[in-house]
């Protein structure tokens, strides 16, 4: 069990990186506390697998150090790091029984037989594998196999962290939920550091306490699921997380008013010194944009209503810019003229993609 420190870590696969785009992983500096449940979230090619491989020891970073507690493990091989990993495709040793699979990491480390037996029983109980302990591992379903490979990690008492590399890719949709809650449960019981790599926001947001969102080789935001939702630090986070993602509109900001296509939108915070010559965008989540009858807000043209079960979403146009808004329950609509009301506290201003904090009400004190 350990705290994981990423100390000015960066990696390039090419031999002589110069430009920032030569780096598959741009510099990252971070501390992951012991016992945390982390998710690395991002689209494919964003560098999350590179980061995972650096942590597991398959890749030695070009620059920087990685520490488990205070031990520098940057150049240590995988087997010397006390980590466990669950891969995208279930890895089980086909010729062995489930019991032998679970005992394998302990036997390799010359743990005495009685201790192995006890520990395997214990972990099998934890993972609900008691019933299949003596079956051949090769004939089990994919989710069972994934549980076994997780078990092979848990069986070692000294494990510093468990890494999950998109572990639910080949699992049946209806079993995904089940496996995910089992992971959550284990995390609560065992006080282990878990790092979960995925491109699926639902998996990340339901599993992790802290989600690290990566884009284009860099970490764009680290935060709790709530923070990612309420205050996306980057437009990428805004539209990548949430379904549908954040509405982003080019805007001009003057003091506490934003102008979008000539329409004034009041803001809760002031932005007195926005940098000149940058691309300014206004971001607001569909959840905080409500459709109102004509004349009671920003005038928009209604394009379509999507009923997605729990709620209805309106596709509208504000001066030609597409936008998604929430339709209140029971609200009736007539014609294609409507209006929008926005919650000023939930409106964020971005300069070149990055969140501009703004000044709280009063506008004076920093």
């Amino acid at each position: 069990m350990a705290r994981i420190t990423l100390d000015h870590l960066a990696h390039a696969y090419g031999p002589h990186p110069k430009e920032p785009q030569d780096y598959a992983l741009k510099e990252i500096d971070h501390v992951w506390r012991q016992g945390g449940a982390y998710a690395l979230l991002g689209p494919s090619g964003c560098g999350k697998s590179t980061l995972l491989n650096i942590i597991s020891g398959l890749v030695v970073p070009t620059r920087g150090r990685i520490l488990f507690d205070d031990r520098d493990v940057t150049t240590l091989p995988t087997e010397a790091r006390n980590i466990a990993q669950v891969f995208q495709f279930p890895v089980v040793y086909d010729t062995m029984t489930v019991r032998e699979n679970l005992a394998f990491p302990l036997r390799n480390r010359r743990v005495p037989a009685p201790a192995v037996r006890a520990r395997v029983e214990e972990i099998a109980g934890l993972l609900d594998l008691r019933g299949v302990l003596d079956r051949k591992a090769s004939n089990l379903t994919a989710d069972m196999k994934q549980t076994i490979s997780l078990g092979r990690g848990l069986v070692r008492p000294d494990v510093a962290a468990i890494l999950f590399d998109e572990p639910l890719t080949v699992i049946d949709p209806h079993l995904k939920w089940q496996l995910r809650s089992m992971l959550k449960e284990l995390h609560r019981k065992l006080d282990l550091t878990m790092i979960y790599v995925t491109h699926d926001q639902t998996e990340a947001l339901t599993f992790a306490d802290t989600v690290v969102v990566m884009h284009d080789g860099a970490v764009v935001q680290t935060g709790t699921p709530d923070e990612l939702f309420e205050r996306p630090a980057h437009t990428f986070v805004g539209h990548f997380i949430g379904s549908p993602g954040m509405n982003l509109l080019p805007a001009r900001v003057e003091g506490r008013t934003a102008y979008v296509e000539g329409h004034a939108i009041p803001l809760a915070r002031g932005y007195p010194d926005l940098p000149e010559g940058r691309r300014i965008e206004l971001g607001v989540r569909p959840e905080y944009v409500h459709l109102a009858p004509r004349g009671l807000g920003l005038p928009v043209r209604l394009r379509r209503i999507d009923d997605i079960g729990r709620q209805r979403l309106a596709r509208v146009e504000l001066g030609g810019r597409p936008l998604v808004a929430t339709v209140a329950e029971g609200q009736s609509l007539d014609g294609d003229e409507a209006a929008l009301t926005l919650d000023p506290r939930q409106i964020h201003i971005y300069a070149d993609g990055a969140l501009v904090p703004g000044l709280a009400a009063g506008g004076g004190a920093p």
């Binding site: 597991s56 087997e79 049946d172």
Partner: protein, 323 residues
């Protein structure tokens, strides 16, 4: 993948069936015909029933003794070369470089002996192992060991075994290499994380994944060594004495050399039956292994099916047509 029942598929198989039947069944009928008859020459044949077979399978008769000698000799030879080539082939496959130009180079050099006509293989070793003009024979003699493959049975045997190892180990190695290549990296990474040493990796990952190709390798090597003819014939002509007269050499001597058609035909049939039986055993084991390894992924299939994503090959095909 479940196959659909379609009897019209026979139409697609028919050409192959006819050609192979013409090449296999027709000649075999001639053989069966000969095996039941005797001749005094001049194309006059008379019925001999199962006489030749009785003689062949009776170790006390001269003909039977000769047949069983050749049979045991051949089985011993097959056992020896399997015992050498299979472990050596696995070792070579494990020693293959992982990537880069070295892989192509190794593959090409390894495949080279496989594409040399068999009598040239015999010739190469005939020359290479000669004491006077061959490098190998010369060096062995210089070491003070009396070595002459035309004179001593032991030398003849060793030369043929080494020649066969030279000729065919690459086949086993290439098969195993193909099996090893199909193991995903995640298995090796998982094994490292589980603290498995090289031996444990070999036993728990590499060997099980090589099982199918190893079966093919053993089958091919057993069959081909069991009917070896050209290479030892060129090298030693079956001698010295009968020391290296394997079944095929014996059969050709009998059929084309002495034109003893009845005996040769009876021997052919028994020879063929042994091969057929061995082949059947292997085939059964192989289809069982196949069924075993195909059943496992079948159970995890619903996940893929639910994902409803076309496999890569399918997308390739669609791209092709779009282009």
């Amino acid at each position: 993948m479940t196959k659909t029942v379609n009897q019209k598929a026979w139409l697609l198989v028919l050409p192959v069936f006819l050609v192979v039947a013409f090449s296999a069944v027709l000649p075999l009928m001639t053989v069966v015909n000969y095996s039941m008859q005797d001749t005094f020459g001049n194309n006059q044949f008379f019925w001999n029933g199962i006489g030749w077979f009785q003689e062949l399978l009776d170790p006390a008769s001269q003909f039977g003794e000769r047949f069983f000698d050749a049979l045991w000799r051949n089985l011993l030879f097959s056992a020896v070369i399997l015992a050498i080539e299979v472990p050596l082939g696995i070792a070579v496959a494990l020693a293959m470089p992982r990537e880069g130009r070295a892989v192509a180079f190794c593959l090409v050099v390894m495949a080279l002996p496989l594409l040399i006509p068999w009598n040239v293989v015999g010739t190469i070793w005939q020359v290479f192992a000669r004491g006077d003009i061959g490098l190998l024979g010369y060096l062995i003699n210089r070491l003070g060991i009396d070595y002459n493959y035309a004179g001593s049975a032991l030398a003849a045997w060793s030369t043929i075994v080494v020649m066969d190892v030279w000729h065919w180990t690459s086949l086993v190695a290439l098969l195993c290499y193909a099996g090893l290549k199909s193991i995903p990296d995640a298995y090796y990474q998982a094994a490292r994380i589980d603290g498995a040493g090289a031996l444990a990796v070999f036993r728990t990952i590499q060997l099980p994944k090589m099982r199918r190709v190893l079966l093919i390798a053993v089958l091919l090597r057993f069959m081909d060594s069991f009917m070896i003819y050209t290479e030892p014939f060129v090298l030693t002509g079956g001698g010295p004495g009968n020391a290296t007269t394997f079944l095929s050499i014996d059969l050709v001597k009998l059929a084309l050399g002495q034109f003893d058609l009845g005996r040769a035909a009876a021997m052919s049939l028994v020879y063929n039956l042994i091969i057929l039986a061995t082949c059947w055993v292997f085939y059964t084991v192989m289809t069982n292994v196949d069924a075993g390894s195909r059943a496992a992924p079948a159970q995890s299939d619903p996940a893929d099916a639910a994902g409803s994503s076309l496999p890569p090959a399918a997308t390739v095909a669609l791209d092709r047509r779009a282009a």
